[in-house]
């Protein structure tokens, strides 16, 4: 049986159901509203597993599900060396969100990563500690800043209301997901640089660690056939 993990609630679940429906695969929750069980029609041998979107990367990496729908940001953040554990079969065109770096708007001297680096060096000399960046995307932000040679910063964990951390004095800058930028403006922050740290969207991922028997491979072929036909 091929196990397909999809988000268990909200818009992400609805959009996932719609995306599969457009490709002739019907996913539905069964039983009561509170029961996380589902049914799949249109392809054979597929079991629907309803999960929190944030847990899907882990389940894929552990091989407990064969396919899963989740954001590319979550896969990159939660899985070390993610390319060795999952591969993307399709970009699904929804769930768009950019992970960006933002600094106070009045930092007129900081427009690029090079500026941020220079400002961080001066900040550390003046304040005796490294410039704090609040985020919950530690791996993505750290890799990005290392790649661009930014030093003298520290990441502080923020699991919510990240845009408010600067005003509250717990960080000097933030790295967070933004879809519109309105919350940033309301909190007197501006986005740094032209390209986001990561432009995320929902992907259909395939686990490279799950047990792929003949039956699962046959189901996978049916699914990828329908996905390709609709492309």
């Amino acid at each position: 049986m091929l196990k397909l993990g999809v988000p268990s609630k909200g818009r992400l679940m609805e959009q996932t159901f719609d995306w599969f429906a457009d490709r002739g695969i019907s996913l539905a929750r069964t039983g009561s509203d509170r029961e996380y069980a589902g049914a799949v029609t249109g392809v054979d041998g597929v079991e629907l597993v309803l999960l929190s979107a944030g847990e899907i990367p882990r389940e894929l990496a552990a091989g407990r599900i064969h396919l899963g729908v989740t954001g590319s940001d979550l896969v990159r953040e939660k899985l070390a060396a993610w390319q060795t554990k999952v591969e993307s079969l399709a970009l699904m065109g929804f769930g768009h969100a950019d992970l960006i770096l933002a600094v106070p708007k009045f930092w007129l001297d900081v427009e690029t990563l090079s500026d941020l680096d220079a400002a961080a060096a001066a900040f550390r000399a003046a304040h005796g500690h490294r410039l704090r960046i609040a985020t919950k995307y530690h791996r993505l932000v750290r890799d990005y800043l290392r790649h661009h040679g930014v030093a003298d910063y520290q990441l502080v964990d923020s699991q919510g209301a990240t845009e408010g951390t600067v005003k509250n004095g717990t960080a000097e800058a933030i790295a967070d997901i933004t879809s519109t930028g309105e919350t940033l403006r309301a909190n007197h922050l501006k986005i740094l640089g032209e390209d986001p740290i990561h432009a995320s969207q929902a992907n259909l991922f395939r686990s490279l660690t799950a047990a792929w028997g003949e039956a699962e491979l046959a189901s996978l072929a049916q699914i990828t056939g329908k996905v390709a036909a609709a492309a």
Partner: protein, 367 residues
């Protein structure tokens, strides 16, 4: 594959050889306060070391090396000179390289104080002697030469400090050097902002509220620095070309001091670096190191953890590229780090480590 007990015994055996030659035994804690390591290495160390939480002591790290705790212990002792040997496990996360071990034995020797050339040669010779007869070759470098070259550039102290800060990040170093030497119109890049600052306009009025710890005064101070920087003439092309030449120097170590002396005609500060190199080579030769087989690479040691600031060396298996992990042994001089960990008080310091597992593997392969 040597078993763990054999690796442990080899680690301790080499340590006792260092002790017999006059080093004190050092034993450090496995759990280290994360703050110290983060301040020293930056946030990147989180991706490479194991972090654990202690409800009372805060974040702790499983030691990613011994050097930091040796330096701390020595600086706290208040002594001018010291010689320490240690052996034990260190821990490194290997997210990107699952094939590498995440805990392994190291045996090391660290020397504080004394004549720098002598100490460099002593550490190198002590480690070299343990690898005698194995199919390894030694590669050396000298971060001090790069630092001297940067200090000698005809440019502002701010630009020199920025270049020096990024010596260990080759990409950013290259980008900075390109910008400082191109004569780019920095005013245009910032859309006229610098001209407004120059004219004394209150550019921060209406720029948004002052939020967070970084103050308006700090923003203005940096804008003033940018204005000054925009007026700075480009670094002369011949000096940039020379830095490039130094980074690409490759060959027998004994043949390197002469070209450095010659380059000192363009950047005078290199004369001192050349003299240090000559003194070191003489000290190495006096300890019986065959200079003919000692290689030098101008860029060696630039991509390791960023604390080496002088002589650097690595022992590689024949055929192994310097950027290939792991070297059989490696080390270098880190005077600046002692000032950071010694709260301003510094000491000349040099050290190196051997990976006993690699030594045993090479010996087994020879049988």
């Amino acid at each position: 594959m040597p078993d763990r007990a054999a690796i442990r015994d080899e680690a301790h055996r080499i340590r006792r050889v260092f002790e017999a030659a006059g080093a004190e035994p050092f034993e450090g804690a496995i759990l280290q306060p994360a703050d110290t390591l983060l301040d020293l290495y930056g946030e990147d160390i989180r991706g490479r070391a194991y972090v654990t939480a202690d409800p009372l002591r805060g974040e702790q790290m499983l030691r990613p090396d011994f050097t930091v705790s040796v330096v701390q212990a020595h600086m706290e002792s208040g002594r001018d000179t010291g010689r320490y040997a240690y052996s034990g496990l260190i821990f490194r996360q290997q997210d990107e390289h699952p094939e590498r071990p995440s805990e392994y034995f190291q045996t090391g020797l660290e020397i504080f104080g004394g004549d720098p050339a002598e100490a460099d040669a002593e550490v190198f010779a002590a480690i070299s002697a343990q690898l005698d007869g194995l199919p390894v070759r030694a590669v050396t470098g000298d971060i001090g030469v790069l630092i001297a070259a940067v200090e000698g550039l005809e440019t502002s102290a701010i630009r020199k400090a920025a270049l020096r800060r990024h010596l260990w990040r080759p990409e950013r170093f290259k980008a900075l050097l390109a910008r400082y030497s191109a004569g780019t119109d920095l005013d245009a890049l910032r859309g006229g902002l610098l001209a407004r600052v120059r004219a004394g306009e209150d550019v921060l009025a209406g720029a948004g509220p002052e939020i967070g710890l970084r103050s308006q005064a700090e923003v203005m101070a940096r804008l003033d620095r940018l204005v000054a920087d925009a007026a700075e003439p480009p670094i002369p092309a011949e000096q940039v070309a020379l830095l490039d030449r130094i980074l690409r120097l490759r060959g027998a170590a004994w043949a390197m001091a002469a070209p450095l002396r010659e380059l000192a005609g363009v950047i005078p500060s290199l004369a001192e670096a050349a003299a240090r190199m000559e003194a070191r080579l003489a000290a190495l030769e006096a300890r019986g190191i065959d200079l003919d087989t000692l290689e030098f690479e101008g860029s060696f040691g630039r991509t390791t953890l960023e604390y080496y600031d002088g002589f650097v060396f690595g022992f590689l298996v024949d055929g192994q590229r310097p950027d290939n992990w792991p070297p059989v042994a490696s080390g270098g001089r880190y005077d600046a780090m002692t000032r950071v960990l010694g709260n301003g008080r510094g000491a000349p310091a040099v050290g190196g480590v051997i990976r006993p597992e690699q030594v045993l593997k090479l010996r087994e392969a020879q049988c």
